[in-house]
């Protein structure tokens, strides 16, 4: 499902910073993988490259058989929209939109019929147990609830890949555990490929496979 071959990422500033160095990685369809490593090891960079938010300096990334490097900006956007769902540490909800509007955002962007959008957004919120908060603004929700909205939004197109960057990093322990359970539950029910970047060893251990990054390289790849 996801294949990285010799992928490097270098940031050119006053001093060049190598964020990823010749990384090879294969993730099969339906796998649940955690990515761990110390700060600055390249975890988030790896996730951004897989998610098409950024492009590698060298190497090849294939998503569902398509070479990401060959895609134009808009094609990459379509790939993200249709195949990848993002869950961010800081939720990244639009504060001016209600929960249902936030979830409907990608559906609107694709130009689906309004009725279908409305019904799908409401179903997704029900799925993440937020049926009673449909018309609330993000400001009116707890951290856990916001992350649920973000997860519902990530599932808008039932994407085969779900990328989560520190999904519990901004939540208390109890709420973090709930969100983690939800992600596992969704993985089981929807069969998506899930990659979770985390600092939390509990979160990492809950996943059947853990990739460890250190100094921009893969230092370990353990399966349970």
């Amino acid at each position: 499902m996801i294949r990285l071959n010799g992928v490097s990422k270098q940031f050119d500033g006053k001093r060049k910073v190598v964020a990823l160095d010749s990384v090879d990685l294969d993730v099969a369809r339906g796998e649940l993988v955690s990515i761990v490593g110390p700060s600055g090891s390249g975890k988030s960079t790896l996730l951004n490259l897989i998610g098409g938010l950024d492009r590698p300096s060298s190497g090849k990334i294939e998503i569902d058989g398509r070479d990401v490097a060959s895609l134009s900006d808009d094609d990459l956007t379509r790939l993200r929209r249709d195949k990848i769902g993002f869950i961010f540490q800081f939720f990244n909800l639009l504060p001016s939109l209600t929960c249902v509007e936030n979830v409907a955002l990608p559906l609107h962007l694709k130009g689906l019929p309004r009725k279908e959008i409305e019904s799908r957004a409401r179903d997704l919120l029900e799925l993440v147990q937020l049926g009673t908060r449909m018309d609330h603004l993000p400001d009116e929700l707890s951290g856990g609830e916001r992350q649920r909205v973000a997860i519902a939004r990530a599932l808008a197109f039932n994407p085969p890949i779900l990328l989560a960057d520190e999904p519990t990093g901004n939540l208390d322990t109890h709420t973090g555990a709930e969100i983690l359970r939800l992600i596992h539950d969704l993985h089981d029910r929807l069969g998506a490929t899930v990659l979770i970047v985390t600092h939390d060893s509990g979160v990492a251990q809950s996943c059947p496979r853990t990739v460890t990054l250190r100094d921009a390289r893969i230092a370990g790849d353990a399966r349970r």
Partner: protein, 850 residues
């Protein structure tokens, strides 16, 4: 200073585009102020320079307005013991017909006595001409030119120069060339000197001079000389130093200057909003930085000084750029302004050089800095009030608090109430201006609240149009009114100005057209110059029967228009056969009975006033009008007030017989000609040209030519004010670019999320463009509404203080309709760069953006 370098400079570097746009707001305002004012000053100084240079050693000048002085006055002046030298002068301008040379100012003097007042410093052996003035006098085609003019045109002694005279085109022979400098530099060097008695003939002055230049005996002061001459000549003559002519010209320019100053200051005011906007945003964006500084021990005063220091630097840079741009603008505008003044007032102009007034330029620079600091004061105060803890917290700092909104609404209501009170008591001039200012203040106070409400109202339609892009665009405005309100206010003000100016233009045009339709009804007009306003050439009275006896002509009305000093202002005296005028022209009566005013004015028992003069001087029916005349002064009552737009400072209509008696001047500037029924205007014109054209210089204009000329001049006049309107709109567009740049910077993460979850570039662009269009639309709604109020006040100002002309209130719907696509188009254009910045920025950085 250290804080400016350590804190401010990195911020400016990081937000370079915004910093440039901010200073551009002030730069434009200052440029407009400097450009327009310098152009006007240059015209005035060029005029004064010419007056000074040709005045020579003359300390006083005796004149009787445009009517001129009779020859016998010269003897009376010379007889006064206080006078050491008196020299008659005729001064007019002529077309040289030389490519690129334009006009020449002809100074006609009596060479036998003039050297006691003026230095004629000749090149080479030309001295001989003046050493024996009789040589000069004996050859009435003699002309002295300047070295500069001679060099430019390859002329030398003996060369021929041709120009139009009352006797048609005549050749003059160059008999002397003045050295460069001194008098020879007058009128940009385009100066010609000829014999005064030859000039009387060729310029149709009869036995009159334009004025007498006077040198006083040693030890006689200007005041004593003036008093002595007043005693010798009686009242009715203007006796003043040469600089008095400059003052008269200045008062002619007053209306134009006022219009220019109001619009320039308006633009600077709008520029102030750009500064305010930028600093308000900077303060909110730099709250964390302010918090850190405060936590490290910076006092409130230091924080305030930091922002005020930044604004002073921005103002200084903007003003300096504005000075440069303004002077460049003035260079291209000076000639245009001079020509416009000449066309309107008939005063010859040759202003080409831009004259700099260092005090004004320093003042403009200081004004830019002060305006910038005033604009930044409120944001600077807000910055100083930030508590460290509060500053380091994240928050919705762009939101206007409910209390703040309520306070603004209350203040606006108070301003409206006070404004209405001033309007009610508006007869007192300062109160009227206070009312105008209070109304503008109320609009500004209400702008944030109204733009918020309008943004809310736009949300529905825009969401239906584009669900995501529309919502994002409008929500951005709703959530950050602080970011948008100053731009909307600037746009509102500039559009209100456009509507005000457009309304004044439309009303002026319509009023003048109505007046032209009723008053300018002769079939033909015969003038001595192409420029109807010019009185440099005049017809002799002997031409009247020559015109009248032509078979095509049923009736003629000879007109003499002369500018005279009335209550210290140069107003126009219109001498015409009032009986004929009353019979032929259906005038728009403002006060009085038409039959009675016609009868009494025709009998020479009264005058009729133009409405603007009556308004400006607070004159009404029965009031006595005192006009200085060479016979000692004319006192006549006002028999009527009519609508008349022939002169901006106002006109006094009196019967031609009275004028001739009082001013001993029977010359004619213009013939109004009515043809016999059935005679085509072209046929009438042909007869006049064939009958009289070979003997005299004349221009026979068809009615439509004159109408086109008058309306064209009106458009030209109004066109000058449109320049300021364009700049005002430009300033507002800068505001939109500024706001969008900041909006995109503020919403980096939001736009990043949109892209991350599948927003295509076109969709992101759409959101930014819709936001710009929404700002434009809100500005349009507020501006077009505020314009209705501004127009009302501008018409009041024009009637009360500037031209005295009552103009009908007509909302310029055409202008408003034109503005809609212009502003929306400008808003969309303003969004191009910010929108591209939004779609091209790094997605990863946007999502990590704090």
């Amino acid at each position: 200073m250290i804080l400016l370098r350590l804190i401010s400079w990195p911020y400016v570097r990081k937000h370079l585009l915004r910093s440039i746009l901010t200073t551009a707001g002030i730069a434009l305002g200052v440029a407009l102020l400097v450009g327009m004012r310098t152009a006007n000053d240059s015209v005035l100084r060029s005029f004064n320079d010419t007056v000074d240079r040709i005045a020579g050693k003359a300390q006083l000048q005796v004149s009787a307005g445009d009517a001129g002085v009779a020859e016998d006055v010269l003897e009376r002046v010379q007889a006064a013991p206080e006078v050491s030298a008196a020299a008659p002068v005729i001064e007019t301008s002529v077309e040289t017909g030389l490519a690129g040379q334009g006009k020449m100012l002809v100074l006609a003097v009596d060479m036998t006595g003039d050297r006691s007042l003026r230095n004629y410093d000749f090149d080479g052996g030309d001295e001989d001409v003046i050493d024996d003035p009789l040589v000069f006098l004996a050859q009435p085609d003699s002309l002295i030119i300047t070295r500069e003019f001679a060099d430019r045109n390859g002329l030398r002694t003996g060369s021929k120069v041709s120009f139009e005279t009352m006797e048609g085109a005549r050749q003059f022979t160059v008999r002397g060339i003045l050295k460069a400098g001194g008098m020879a530099a007058a009128f940009g060097g385009n100066l010609g000197i000829m014999d005064i008695y030859a000039a009387q003939q060729v310029f149709g002055r009869g036995r009159r001079f334009d004025r007498i230049d006077i040198g006083l005996a040693e030890g006689v002061s200007i005041e004593a000389g003036t008093a002595a001459l007043q005693r010798a000549l009686g009242g009715g003559y203007e006796i003043e130093p040469p600089s008095g002519r400059g003052k008269q010209f200045e008062s002619l320019l007053r209306i134009y200057n006022t219009a220019v100053s109001i619009s320039s200051l308006f633009s600077l005011f709008i520029g102030m909003f750009i500064i305010y906007n930028s600093f308000a945003i900077a303060v909110t964006q730099r709250r964390a930085e302010i918090g850190i500084l405060r936590a490290l021990g910076a006092t409130r005063g230091q924080i305030r000084a930091l922002f005020l220091g930044e604004s002073a630097v921005a103002g200084l840079i903007g003003s300096t750029a504005g000075l440069g741009a303004g002077l460049a603008f003035a260079r291209s505008l000076t000639g245009v302004t001079g020509r416009l003044m000449e066309n309107i007032f008939g005063v010859p102009q040759n202003a080409q050089e831009v004259s700099l007034d260092p005090r004004f330029l320093v003042g403009a620079l200081a004004l830019g800095v002060v305006v910038s600091m005033i604009a930044a004061y409120i944001p600077a105060r807000s910055a100083a009030r930030v508590e460290p803890v509060q500053a380091l917290q994240k928050g919705r700092y762009q939101v206007l608090g409910a209390g703040e909104n309520r306070a603004r609404r209350w203040a606006a209501a108070a301003c409206v109430a006070l404004g209405l009170a001033c309007l009610w008591a508006g007869a007192y001039r300062p109160l009227a201006f206070a009312g105008y200012s209070l109304t503008v203040a109320a609009m500004l106070l209400l702008a944030p609240f109204l733009s918020l409400e309008l943004a809310r109202a736009l949300r529905g339609p825009l969401r239906r149009f584009k669900p995501i892009e529309g919502s994002l665009a409008v929500d951005s405005l709703i959530q950050a009114p602080r970011r948008t309100s100053a731009t909307v206010a600037a746009l509102m003000l500039s559009l209100a100005l456009v509507i005000g100016q457009g309304g004044v233009a439309r009303a002026s045009y319509e009023s003048i057209r109505g007046w032209v339709d009723t008053t300018l009804n002769p079939d033909l007009f015969i003038t001595a110059t192409e420029n109807i306003a010019s009185r440099g050439f005049r017809f002799p009275a002997s031409m009247i029967p020559e015109v009248t006896k032509l078979p095509a002509i049923e009736e003629t009305q000879p007109v003499r228009t002369a500018r005279v000093q009335f209550r210290g202002k140069p107003v126009m005296l219109v001498a015409i056969d009032m009986e004929s005028l009353g019979r032929r022209v259906r005038r728009i009566v403002v006060a009085g009975n038409i039959e009675e005013m016609n009868r009494r004015s025709a009998a020479g028992q009264a005058v009729i006033l133009a409405e603007n003069l009556a308004n400006l001087e607070h004159l009404g029916l029965g009031d006595m009008v005192e006009i200085p005349t060479p016979r000692g002064g004319l006192r006549l009552p006002v028999a009527g007030v009519i609508r008349d737009y022939s002169n901006q400072l106002g006109s006094i209509f009196l019967d031609r017989k009275v004028y001739i008696r009082e001013f001993q001047d029977d010359t004619v500037d213009l013939f109004r000609v009515y043809l016999r029924p059935g005679v085509a205007p072209e046929e009438g014109r042909r007869q006049i040209i064939e009958g009289l054209g070979s003997r005299r210089r004349m221009f026979v204009l068809l009615n439509r030519d004159v109408r086109d000329y008058v309306l064209g001049l009106t458009n030209q006049w109004l066109g000058m004010t449109r320049i300021q309107v364009i700049v005002a709109v430009l300033v507002a567009v800068l505001g939109i670019v500024n706001t969008l740049t900041v909006s995109i910077s503020d919403r980096r993460r939001e736009l990043g999320v949109l892209r991350a979850v599948g927003g295509l570039r076109a969709q992101i662009r759409g959101a930014v463009w819709l936001e710009a269009a929404a700002i434009g639309a809100i500005g349009l709604v507020l501006g077009l509404s505020a314009g209705a109020v501004v127009l009302y006040y501008e018409l009041q100002v024009i009637q009360r203080d500037v031209g005295g002309m009552p103009l009908a209130y007509i909302y310029p719907l055409g202008v408003a309709a034109t503005l809609i696509p212009i502003i929306l188009g400008a808003a969309l254009a303003a969004a191009i760069v910010p929108a591209e910045a939004a779609v091209r920025s790094s997605l990863v950085e946007a999502l990590e953006y704090e």
